[in-house]
Symmetry: C2
Subunit: 403 residues, 2 copies
Amino acid sequence: MNIIKGGVCAAKGFTANGVHCGIRKNKSKRDLSLIISDTKATAAAVYTQNLVKGAPLTVTKNNISDGFAQAIICNSGNANTCNSNGIEIAEEMCALVAKETGISAKDVVVASTGVIGEVLDINPIKNGIPELVKGLGDNSLLAAEGIMTTDTKVKEIAVSFEIDGKECRIGGIAKGSGMIHPNMATMLVFITTDCAISSDMLQKALGEDIVDTFNMTSVDGDTSTNDMVTILANGRAGNTEITEDNDNFKIFAKALNTITVYLCRNIAADGEGATKLVECVVTGAKSKEQAKLSAKSVICSSLVKAAMFGSDANWGRVLCALGYGVPDLDPTGVDVSFKSAKGEIPVCVKGAGIPFSEEKAKEILLENEVEILVNLNSGDCSSTAWGCDLTYDYVKINGDYRT
Amino acid sequence: MNIIKGGVCAAKGFTANGVHCGIRKNKSKRDLSLIISDTKATAAAVYTQNLVKGAPLTVTKNNISDGFAQAIICNSGNANTCNSNGIEIAEEMCALVAKETGISAKDVVVASTGVIGEVLDINPIKNGIPELVKGLGDNSLLAAEGIMTTDTKVKEIAVSFEIDGKECRIGGIAKGSGMIHPNMATMLVFITTDCAISSDMLQKALGEDIVDTFNMTSVDGDTSTNDMVTILANGRAGNTEITEDNDNFKIFAKALNTITVYLCRNIAADGEGATKLVECVVTGAKSKEQAKLSAKSVICSSLVKAAMFGSDANWGRVLCALGYGVPDLDPTGVDVSFKSAKGEIPVCVKGAGIPFSEEKAKEILLENEVEILVNLNSGDCSSTAWGCDLTYDYVKINGDYRT
């Protein structure tokens, strides 16, 4: 498997574009994106578990219930959620794509991100779609920009891999930033592949993957109303279609995992206001569940996050987060180290502090990718979670996001 | 029932003091407090549910297992947690109090608050205790100062009430600030009363009370390792001892609740970096559990907290927090209003936004005590939770707390 250039247009037969249509006031910000497959593709998606669900999710769920889709339309600047006419607007977005492209409105995935509870005006979208369709091409980057809200960096990646001697590609784009604490689904992630794979196996691959990737990512503990990960597979690579859990499925799943882990790390690193990626790697757990609860409790702790911002080796907060987040924890077995490109330093052994160089610890924690290594010494299960630090800028961004 | 002056010395027979003994580097900060009853008192306590527990909690639990205590010793600046000699040090603190006062070491409640994982030096405590005991008197305020860490305000309150024609008093002090998200117990709260009440009924009163008070308070979602609420009752008011759940017990429980609600509100309002108290009042829930989950999810949301800091009427975040925090929510029934001394403004009806004056909403939210009113329109249960806003100063305090 190789990491290749590009994002959602890396796979054969996919084109994309992103434009500014006027939902967002700032004219330099794109706010409408489109991804299209030349031919109908199998489709799979996972959605937020938040009971307050964005209207686009309801429409998308309905549209891909037959396992197929051909286009993805997404706006930023308004979540089209908690509005009495939300469904109507989301359906109109699909109809407008259909009208301009000839694709069936029932084959359109629709997504929105932005403020909750403000009616989404269809007019800028109506006016923007012709230009959006006209500019379709190898423009994954523009599409990735069009779905950003407070993100500061574009997130895209693609890989190539071989199945049946045929070269296949998967690529994806994502937006993250705030209100990021996915549960069974996440933020907005659009993935395309030219690998031939049935809808059922595509859904299986995605459903199994997110448990260890997007569901292990958190910026602020708030599970959004509009989280969605969608993948379209148009089969243009020419491999024999994957229809069962065989070796080819495993190759596909591994390639997919490369895409999702990359996007998770980048979503966490670019969390609202974040200055660094914080990765918690838990080993020695007695069960996978214990490993996951441990890793997630650490990266979700406001106090751990603030300590990481200050590059402060305050490992007591790691122990504290484990203590309240992991029901069957044995505190006397816990080892903790901090690690980064500058080295690794053990700070706690068997639940108690050990002497360490504060200077060295600081040097390690000042890096922009930091690992918190936790060994529970209770078994051989492991898990990784991705988060970021809690900073002044998170407060700034969210103290005045809407007005 | 009347609110009266004072704190833990308001009840007959209780004296207190607080000194600087040298655990904290800043000499202007008291770091050692003592509360004493003239006579042995019935005692009750509740503790953190964090599995990583401070050593003082283990020693206290053991000491009051017979239902009695006579003194409370507490230091700030070091949590005496995750240290291999923690139990030893906590027991020595009790022994030092015993030596200087003649009270049995087994009748001493011991508590610590501060950094986790640094060995607590007994020497400053040993040197400070004579002065601490010598200064015992009507010094609730000094004791309240001695337990503060990043708290900016002293928290004390007392009430008087009548039982059997006898005037009784309850008074309490508390420290809160960060790592505040109590579960079955909380931060450090010391309450004294001269009401005569058996250990069993005292424990029952406290155990029932905290479910709706301390357990509904959160500053940052982090459940501390050292949370503890203790109450001593020395019976000096001369009422017939309360030994069953009768009318007198209800009078006592109500007086206790006045103390605890006051302390919760003040702990929330003085949360680390907080500029305002945020109270979420949920009505119309189908069960008490649903009401509590709703209120707590709203006050714990980082995004709601940041919006409150910005006095931004971003009610979509309230809906979002309800959606992920309340398993059996009907989003289409939810009404939301914001309220303060400046008035009340509805912003969401039946799960959808309604037009409202941003200017008026801002005026309401700029107050330093703000209510978020949520009506679920699904039943007649209600609950209140207390929190605070998320601010630059929270990040500042916790980005550099230890070093």
